[in-house]
């Protein structure tokens, strides 16, 4: 018997600034935080924009390698505030990231790109009572981090868990994606026929999970699952098998039918291959119950791709569709050339029913994750 898992608190730092409200208001208003590069402006890469945390939102004196820790703490402060400053003595942390602190690899320091290094720092600083965990599952890290933490509550191992999903753009990441030819020179346009690649962004999302319904903000992590394309390590399965499997499994895990899903937050990177296969995979996953998927949106044209943080940041946006009973427009999308079964609103869409939202994510290694949030 699985115990229910409730969302008790949320926090975020993104290109829209500090706070979940800034993020959600910005995305639902159709704004974009992708701007000319400032902090990363000195790096010679083939894109003019990123979703950097705005100047002035954080202390300019903080070293780039320490930004993941700093932004994590800002997001956690907000999440703890919403959660009513929960007892930390029996709380554990799951850190989800690609690399976190790159000190020792780029510049001096002990980080060495080890997620556990940052997880321990945060756990000690916050005086959490349960030993930390850390995972690195590429751009599906955030969603799989939520799964990992939720499972511990569902099985009765813990009553409260803190998930922190974080990544901050640096030279290593920018030049890596740039070298692969994966960056859009300007703002990315997921699903648009003219899309040319991804835009990157800074992000940290904190989510407090609890077994106690009285601590809930009215949202439950109803189901979660993972899958692997088992096809190619950097390119997707062209039939979108993995992302479809993850979505279907998460909905089944929630005890729901695909017909119960009311909104969907997509991975939607803006690369030609990802968007095409994601549309096919999700179109297939919903094909038995409808000609069209539920209204679906991506937000990487607004926040940038925040990599390991994306699953966390975007789960907050999936939750917001339930709270607002609407799905924001897909910014940058004019003409889709992807599977038309994927319902991609180009204006804000009111929902007649807002009970269950699905979040999907994909990453290098064919890694896929999905989570269902229920009101």
């Amino acid at each position: 018997m699985r115990r229910p898992v409730f969302v008790a608190g949320r926090g975020a730092v993104s290109g829209f600034g500090i706070g979940v409200k800034a993020l959600v208001d910005g995305v639902f208003a159709g704004e974009t935080a992708l701007q000319a590069r400032v902090r990363t402006g000195g790096y010679d890469v083939a894109t003019s924009v990123v979703g950097e945390i705005p100047e002035g939102a954080i202390d300019a004196g903080i070293a780039e390698n320490d930004l993941p820790r700093h932004t994590s703490l800002l997001a956690i402060d907000e999440a703890f505030e919403e959660a009513g400053q929960p007892d930390r003595s029996a709380m554990g942390i799951v850190l989800a990231t690609t690399k976190a602190d790159m000190s020792g690899i780029c510049g001096e320091g002990p980080g060495l790109g080890s997620p556990m290094h940052l997880a321990r720092q945060l756990s000690q600083q916050l005086e959490l009572g349960i030993e930390p965990s850390a995972l690195s599952c590429a751009c599906a890290s955030g969603v799989l981090g939520i799964s990992t933490a939720a499972r511990r509550i569902a099985t009765g191992e813990c009553d409260r868990m803190l998930v922190i999903a974080v990544d901050v753009i640096n030279e290593f990441i920018l030049k890596g994606f740039g070298g692969m030819g994966a960056l859009d020179p300007e703002r990315c346009r997921p699903f648009d026929e003219e899309r040319r690649g991804v835009s990157l962004g800074d992000g940290a999302a904190a989510i407090v999970l609890s077994a106690n319904e009285q601590e809930s903000i009215g949202i439950r992590v109803a189901g979660y699952a993972g899958a692997n394309d088992a096809c190619h390590v950097t390119g997707p399965d062209y039939e979108g098998l993995g992302i479809g499997l993850a979505a279907t499994r998460a909905v089944q895990h929630a005890g729901l039918s695909m017909a119960d899903i009311d909104s969907m937050h997509l991975h939607a990177t803006g690369t030609r291959a990802n968007d095409k296969s994601e549309a096919i995979g999700l179109g297939n996953a919903f094909a038995e119950v409808a000609d069209k998927t539920p209204p679906a949106f991506g937000s990487k044209s607004q926040t940038g791709h925040t990599l390991g943080a994306a699953g966390g940041i975007e789960s907050l946006l999936a939750i917001a569709t339930l709270e607002r009973s609407e799905v924001p427009k897909n910014v940058g999308l004019e003409n889709s050339n992807c599977d038309p079964r994927l319902d991609l609103p180009t204006t804000i869409r009111k929902l007649s029913r807002a009970n269950h939202a699905l979040k999907v994510a994909s990453g290098f290694g064919g890694v896929q994750g999905a989570a269902v949030f229920s009101a």
């Binding site: 780029c106 060495l112 997620p115 965990s133 590429a138 899958a227 950097t234 064919g366």
Partner: protein, 222 residues
Amino acid sequence: MNASILACGIVDEVGIAGTRGIHATWQDLEMQAPGTGKTMKVLFDKADPTFRRIDLLARCLVLACEAADVENVLSPEIRQETAICVETDLGALATDLSFASSLGDECVHAGIFPYSLTSTSLGEVALRYKLRGPTVSMSVRDGDAGEALREALRMLNSGDCKHVVTGVVNTLTEPAVGREATMRGLVAVLSAGNTSKRLGTLTWPERGTATDPFEQFAAMCR
């Protein structure tokens, strides 16, 4: 919490061994650890044209999976839902350092960038054996050993998965940034509950004990 151990395999500086019945040293094979483009053919009579191009983490894990005979221990249907959960202390440190060294160049080493993420190395395992369950790369450091085993047990005991390929991988061919050279890729195939095919039982590995939680698998391989 416990699980049945169905198979295991190990690759280290000395050689390769596994419950498939293979025991060989790199010296006897006249190969450098962890193998070359010919290793899969020589040891397992298999063609793997991309093996020589994958990173050392993936090579260690793929060979360990072969030594465990994952392809025969788990049927194709079961592998469609089998998870991978592997831990690493060093992560992709060697790749990170190599890629970082190219940041000042006109062209970065873009070909190795994807392997700066350990999930990419796990993906090489997933695609070879069509393991389409969840793929999770756990990070550990100094004394957290066993995190992947604990997470695998959670997956199995919660009913979220029925089979998990779990293990540990760390490779660094030369000492760097204060870390010693090492090479070990170890995998164990776990199944929920008790099965008659089990070679042993995995029980919950407590944190902070002096014992290497992976030693029982290494012993089975030998």
